[in-house]
């Protein structure tokens, strides 16, 4: 494996990072909406979002990508392959993040909501200034844990034909016929991307466990 091949892997890595970031940002925005609806107290909204979450947590990411990839084109949306894949990851992430954040919104003691209501704060102020800042803190370790899952999940875009890190690895491995080396390097690149995040998540978790004691 020469320099050109390694650079090709790095190009794949770039797409992996980009796809993860777009999926995480999109999933974060939609996930917040899902979390708020899921804990809104309005029955149809709660049930609808519960179904949405169950659908995405109960089916393989690979199938979600396939269905979104072909489904979007069928509704008449002609998007670049990578936009279609990014939408797939956004939907996937919004369900998981929605569920994580719902949990942390509900973990904020009820007294906080009641106190905010007693201060006659309306819904937006109550959420924005009282509940969410605490909920975000509680949810951080799990959120980072999911980000790592998402980065690893982007490898499945390879099966749809999107040239990110794993597919780049496949292509290089098939040109050089050195799979041991190529997949080793690909694995290390993922590890370098994910491990610092995992360590940070574990660190936050420990710190919060100490604080809770």
């Amino acid at each position: 494996m020469g320099e050109a091949e390694f650079l090709f892997l790095l190009t794949g890595l770039k797409w992996t990072v980009l796809l993860s970031l777009v999926g995480f940002a999109g999933g974060g925005i939609c996930g917040l909406a899902v979390a708020l609806m899921r804990s809104s107290g309005i029955a149809p909204l709660e049930r609808g979002t519960a179904g949405y979450i169950a659908l995405f947590q109960g089916t393989p990411l690979l199938m979600q990508l396939f269905v979104v990839y072909y489904g979007l084109a069928l509704v008449g949306l002609k998007l670049d392959a990578w936009v279609a894949v990014a939408i797939g990851f956004t939907l996937h992430a919004s369900a998981y993040l929605g569920e994580i954040w719902r949990g942390s919104i509900e973990a904020v003691p009820r007294g906080q909501t009641e106190a905010a209501k007693a201060l006659s704060l309306h819904y937006v102020a109550r959420m924005k200034d009282v509940i969410l800042p605490q909920a975000i803190r509680i949810s951080l370790p799990a959120t980072i844990g999911f980000l790592v899952q998402l980065i690893k999940g982007t490898s499945l875009a390879a099966i749809v034909g999107f040239t990110e890190l794993t597919r780049a690895g496949n292509i290089v491995s098939n040109q050089t016929f050195k799979p041991l080396l190529v997949f080793g390097v690909v694995g290390i690149l993922y590890f370098l991307l994910c491990w610092p995040l995992s360590l940070y998540g574990a660190h936050l978790e420990r710190r919060m466990a100490v604080a809770a004691r």
Binding site: F8, G51, K78, I159, T163, I171, N174, F177, P179
Partner: protein, 275 residues
């Protein structure tokens, strides 16, 4: 999967079932005029099957199909955008409107002609069975002794599945590259492929394999969606033109290193023109 209730799963099922109902709308036909107005043509191509269509280490799309597609784009006066596809994504990517046209090693087969519109053929290919050099393989029956790799949904998948005796172990992979990789890794002892496979296998496991059986001589054409007359007509005119002016021979010289094949005027079950 915390706290997922049965009811929410039912809701999820209902939502999933309702989804297809939203999808009955048409994806809109594409015409050469539209492509010219847009300034680019979106071409579905293979990304991992040299020398037909492959992405180079520099990340550039290359290959025989890429050259032909680039000539077609030049003919229309537009830029070309390649979408690398997996073997069994090719037809769905076209029919769902993800690409305008396929230059993707598409062998002209009657069952495919029911799903897509083929153009006139622009290149010939042969589907072969590759096995260990030291073994005597002379008939289809002999294939039964091997575990055979094929690319899912490729012409070699169809041929090996059809010709191998019942009970043969056939392993289907996501594309040409993983199937060759499986042979080189020793996960399988034989492989269904095309005329160019041996070049690549020689790089990975020199001197061990050779072409043992020939199944079928095939012609490859460009594909568009059924019923799209104008773009099909433009493709046929273009193919006639490059056959006549020697540009096809130049592409042949670069990749195939043989004179341009004689192409048939018609193929059983595969119409060249849209109606």
């Amino acid at each position: 999967m915390t706290r997922t209730t049965r009811r929410s799963l039912l809701a999820a099922g209902a939502a999933a079932l309702a989804l297809p109902a939203l999808l009955a709308s048409p994806a809109g036909a594409v015409t050469p005029a539209e492509i010219k107005a847009r300034g680019k043509i979106i071409v579905g191509i293979q990304g991992d099957n040299p020398p037909w269509g492959f992405v180079t280490s520099a990340g550039k799309q290359d290959g025989l199909d890429a050259d032909i597609a680039t000539l077609f784009a030049k003919d229309l006066g537009v830029a070309v955008e390649f979408v690398p596809l997996e073997v069994n994504n090719r037809i769905p990517a076209l029919t769902t409107g993800r690409v305008d046209v396929l230059f993707a090693t598409m062998a002209m087969l009657p069952e495919r002609a029911k799903a897509v519109q083929f153009s006139k053929p622009y290149v010939a290919n042969t589907i072969v069975f590759i096995g260990p050099k030291k073994d005597k393989i002379t008939s289809n029956e002999d294939m039964g002794r091997y575990t055979i790799a094929v690319a899912k949904g490729a012409a070699q998948d169809t041929q090996v599945t059809k010709n191998a005796p019942a009970g043969t172990v056939i392993r289907r992979y996501d594309g040409d590259a993983p199937s060759i990789q499986a042979l080189v890794s020793g996960q399988v002892q034989a492989i269904g492929g095309n005329i160019f496979y041996m070049q690549r296998i020689e790089q990975g496991r020199p001197g061990e394999f050779e072409n043992k059986l020939e199944f079928q001589n095939l012609y490859n054409g460009a594909c568009t969606r059924l019923g799209e007359k104008e773009i099909n007509a433009a493709l046929n005119a273009f193919i006639d033109k490059i056959k006549a002016n020697g540009e096809l021979q130049k592409v042949y010289d670069k990749w195939m290193k043989v004179p341009v094949h004689k192409f048939p005027d018609s193929l059983e079950g595969v119409p060249f023109t849209a109606n």
